[in-house]
Every structure is written in C-alpha cells, then in structure tokens.
Amino acid sequence: MAILETIGVEKRFGGLTANADINIQIEEGAITSIIGPNGAGKTTLFNILTGYYKPDRGEVHYLGQNITGWPVHKIVRKGIARSFQVLNIFNEIPVFENIRLAVQADQKKGFHFLKSTSKFRSINERAEEILDEIGLFRVKDVITKYLSYGDKRILEIGIALASRPRLLLMDEPTSGLPSSETERVKNFIKRISEKMTIVVIEHDMNVVLTISDNIIVLHQGRVIAQGSPQEIKANDQVQEAYLGGIV
C-alpha cells in the first residue's frame, strides 16, 4: 500500500518549472531513493510534500488523506518528518536541547510556561534515549555548533527521528561526508528503516543502489523513470540523462 502519493504535482518559480506532473507512490515500509542531477527538482518536491511550498497544481495524499496546502507543523504531527541537505539544527544550544525540543513538540508540551523544562521527566528521558540510540550521548552537553560535521549530520537525522515519524524524508544525508562516515550513515539508515518508511534524496550511487527498494529518477522537474535498482540500472534513458554510463 502506498503511504504517500502525489497526483499531477506542479510547482513553478517565475518562468522555471521546478516540478511538473509528478505522479509518484511511496510504498510503506520500503526505502525509496530519489535521484537526479542538480536542479532536477528533488528538494522542491520535499518542500511540497512537507507543506513548505504549496503546489501550483496537483495533490498530495498521505495515508489516504489529502494534505495539500497543510502547514508544515500539521503535516509533521501527522507523522512526516524531514532532515535537510544544508544542516538545519539549533546551533546555539546544547545537543541535548536540540533533541529535547523535538521530543517536547512530539509530546505537545510546548505551551507550558511556568514549570522548568528540567521537570518534564518523560521528555528528558526520551531525549536521552534517542541520544543513546543515535550515538551522540557522549556529546550531549556540547554546544551544537562545536560538533564535528559528521556528528552534526547524525544530529540532523536524530532531530527528525525524535518526532517518531511514520515517514521520514532525508535530503542528502551523506552530503559532505568522507566515505568512512558515509558508511556509518548508510548503516544507520538501514537500521532505522525497520521502523519506518524512508524516502531519501541521494547523490552517492553506491549508497542508492545498496539501500534502495525503489528508485525514482527526476530530470528537469519530471519523473523520467522509477523502479527497482536493477530496472533503473538497465534503463537507457536514465543512463543518458543522469548516470552518464558510470554505473
């Protein structure tokens, strides 16, 4: 069953068509990769799926419900979380606070205003659990901006996980990482995919071909192919447009 489905989604910025006639279905429980050259409209599609942009045309359905035009926070609460290509974390506060804020949102305690955050035990315990799971417990009190780049990328994903998503969208989780760290993130994605559906935008074909159940290829705002890794590898159009015969 498809957990997420788009019907004829289109998005224009002035004269540029970033997404045109996108019809995709994301299968529940699988890892789906979205690939395509720079400017193919991959991040724009994530922005539409999560409500950051409203599509000019078309609809987004999540678990059978039309969520087109919903605000971001409402979509997140429905169970779609997202990590970002450019690091998007809270830099001025400790690592622990980043996760704690996410858990606090998940437990809907944000409007409590007279009790200290330290008194919300279930939030703090859950935040520590998550830090433990993602392997950042040792740096929990470090101000986030002093983290290593690899740890920041993990934290970026950890924040998204803290909202207990059913569907996790990851925008280039290995971007800027050395190959050893890429391996760490790859295994991490594999591990969390047992608990949720994952859609990942990725450039590293090694990662894409080993983790994906399905691949969607975008080119100039359009879906030019979708299928299993084998099918995509064999697809001539994809070879020409994107892979350039590398694989």
Binding site: V86, F90, S116, Y146, S148
Partner: protein, 340 residues
C-alpha cells in the same frame, strides 16, 4: 555553599540592591528616579522575551507602555477608582491589543516586522495625541491617583507616599522578574528561543511557530502595559510621548546596553544606566541623547553582548557562551537562516 551560590545569583543581587537602595537614595534625593528605573526594568525585561528570546525586533513597544498608562487613567476616571483594578485592567487591555496587532505582526519577520511595529506605534501616537476628549491630547490625561491598596478588604495600605510607592513597585518588579524567569526556562521559553535560532526547523519539529510568536507578543505587551500603568501612577498622568516611535526605541537600547540580546538581567542594568544618564547628563546639556547615542555606538561596536555579557554575568544555561566562541571555527557554513 548552596546559600553562597544563591546570593551570588544576579536575581538575588538585583532584589537585594533595590531592597536597600532607598536607605542611600533617601539621603541624596531621587527616589522617583529609582522608582522609574524599576518600572522601566519591568518593561525592558518583559520586552526582552520578544526581542532577545524570540528574535522579533519591535521598535514600537512604546505603544503598549503608553497605552497601559492611558488605560490606567481611563479605568480610574470612568470605571472604578482603585489601584489593583486599574493595573490589572491595563495589563488585560494591553494583552488584548497585542493579541489583535499580533494577528498582523506574527506572520512577519525581520525588517517587515520592525517596520510594521513602527507603523502601529505611530498610528497609536496620533490617535492619543489628537483624541482630546478621551486622552487629553497634548496636555495628557491628568489626575491619575495612587489609591490605597486593599488586601482582601482587610487592610488598607496607602501608597501615595514616595517610599511606600517605591516598595509597591519593588514588589511588582520582584514578581515580574520571577514570572519572566520561569517563562524563559519553561518549555514555552525553549520554543521561543528555538524560533529565534531557526524558525523553519522549529516548524519541522511540529511547532506552530506563528502561535508562539503571537504568545510572545502578548507576554511582552502585558508587561509593557503593567509598566505603563505604574508609570502613570508615578507621574499622576498619562502622555502620548512614550508612544512616539523615537521614544519606543528607548527600551530597545536599554536591552542592548545592559546585556546584548540573550542576557536575562541585562535590561535591568540598561534601564538604570538610561535613567541615570538622562538625569545626570541632561542637567549639563540638553543634548543628552547625543551622549547616550555615543554610548550605544560604543557598546554595539565593542561590547556586542552588552555590559553584563562583557562581564560574563547572568548568562542562562540556554546560552552558555564560552570563551571558545572567540576562536573556535564555525563548521556549520551559512545554514543559520534555515531555508531548506
């Protein structure tokens, strides 16, 4: 050991200083200035929830301070003459106005937010200045009294004397600072500070950031209204002046001078410096704002975290700037504006 730590806490020091200050001030005169400092401190610490913790630069908060003063007078003249009722009425009125204006303001950010606050405060200024029959126009709304406090109808405490009014304002200052401190360290405060750092990510955590910014406006409006009412009772009148946008900037500068943008107690020091300079320098020259302006230029250039920030006093756990910041390279690359 624990007691020593409490006693060195800036909150304790502020409370202690203002508690004993009258002993010295009574000898040299200037009690009403000291009261003014406390009133502006209430205003500025509350305003800092919006500016420092939520990151919304309002240059029009004189609107709420001035309106609070008028509401205090209007309630006394036309509804019930009483101290509590006029103060609570001003707070309620100002939070309602902040809520209404917040519908327009909370969707804006940065320069658009700032310009809109200036536009609103000017609008209110002209209304207050022109509407003679209600506000007294140019002459101000006079005859605002300090009625005796009634505690459950059992005691009546007069506050019309300067010393009794001082301690009345002191009690409200203490209560305000405690409440605002709790807000800053609560889940709500943590979300506001998250919005300041990265609003897009805050949305992606599932926070309805619009609503939080709106609440932040209401909180700051409420404390501005409280301060305005106390100010009206101090001066026995309410005037349009504080609403003008040029005067609305005063509170912004108090926050910046005292502790930059993230120091909880900075605004208290900022208020004291502002009032002291105004009083001392203005006896020497009528261009005292010139000297104040120079001070601000100096602080923004050389002490961007304000005086308390420079002295490393009172940084809350949420901030924890370390000396490392001066040299530690930032690895994050320009991700801070948070656009995906």
């Amino acid at each position: 050991m624990k007691i020593v730590r409490y006693m060195l806490h800036p909150m304790f020091i502020i409370f202690a200083v203002f508690l004993v200050a009258p002993i010295f001030i009574m000898r040299v005169g200037g009690m009403s200035l000291a009261i003014e400092v406390m009133i502006w401190a209430i205003f500025a610490v509350g305003y800092n929830i919006l500016l420092g913790y939520t990151g919304l630069p309002s240059f029009g908060h004189g609107l709420f301070f001035g309106t609070g003063a008028y509401l205090c007078g209007l309630i006394q003249h036309h509804l019930i003459p009483g101290t509590w009722i006029s103060i609570l009425g001003s707070m309620l009125g100002c939070s309602i106005i902040a809520g209404i204006l917040g519908f327009f303001l909370a969707r804006k950010r940065g320069i658009y937010f700032a310009l809109l606050t200036i536009a609103f405060t000017q609008l209110f200024f002209f209304i207050a200045f022109q509407w003679d029959s209600v506000t007294g126009g140019e002459n101000g709304l006079m005859g605002i009294e300090r009625y005796p406090l009634s505690i459950f109808g059992l005691f009546r405490i007069p506050i019309d004397g300067v010393l009794s009014y001082y301690y009345f304002v002191y009690a409200i200052l203490v209560a305000s600072i405690v409440v605002l401190w709790k807000i800053v360290h609560s889940p709500l405060g943590s979300v506001l500070y998250a919005i300041k750092q990265n609003e897009v990510r805050a949305k992606y955590l599932g926070y309805n950031t619009w609503m939080y910014k709106w609440v932040s406006l209401i909180i700051s409006g409420l404390f501005a209204g409280l301060a305005g009412a106390l100010y009206a009772m101090l001066q026995h009148g309410a005037f349009a002046n504080p609403i003008h946008w040029t005067r609305s900037g005063d509170v912004v500068m108090m926050v910046l001078v005292g502790g930059g943008l993230t120091n909880f107690f900075g605004p208290v020091l900022g208020a004291a410096i502002f009032i002291a300079l105004r009083d001392i320098v203005s006896t020497l020259t009528e261009h005292w704002y010139l000297f104040y302006g120079l001070l601000i230029v100096f602080i923004i250039l050389f002490l961007p975290e304000g005086i308390l920030g420079y002295l490393k006093v009172g940084q809350t756990s949420r901030k924890m700037i370390s000396v490392e910041e001066k040299w530690s390279p930032s690895l994050s690359g320009g991700a801070s504006d948070g656009h995906p």
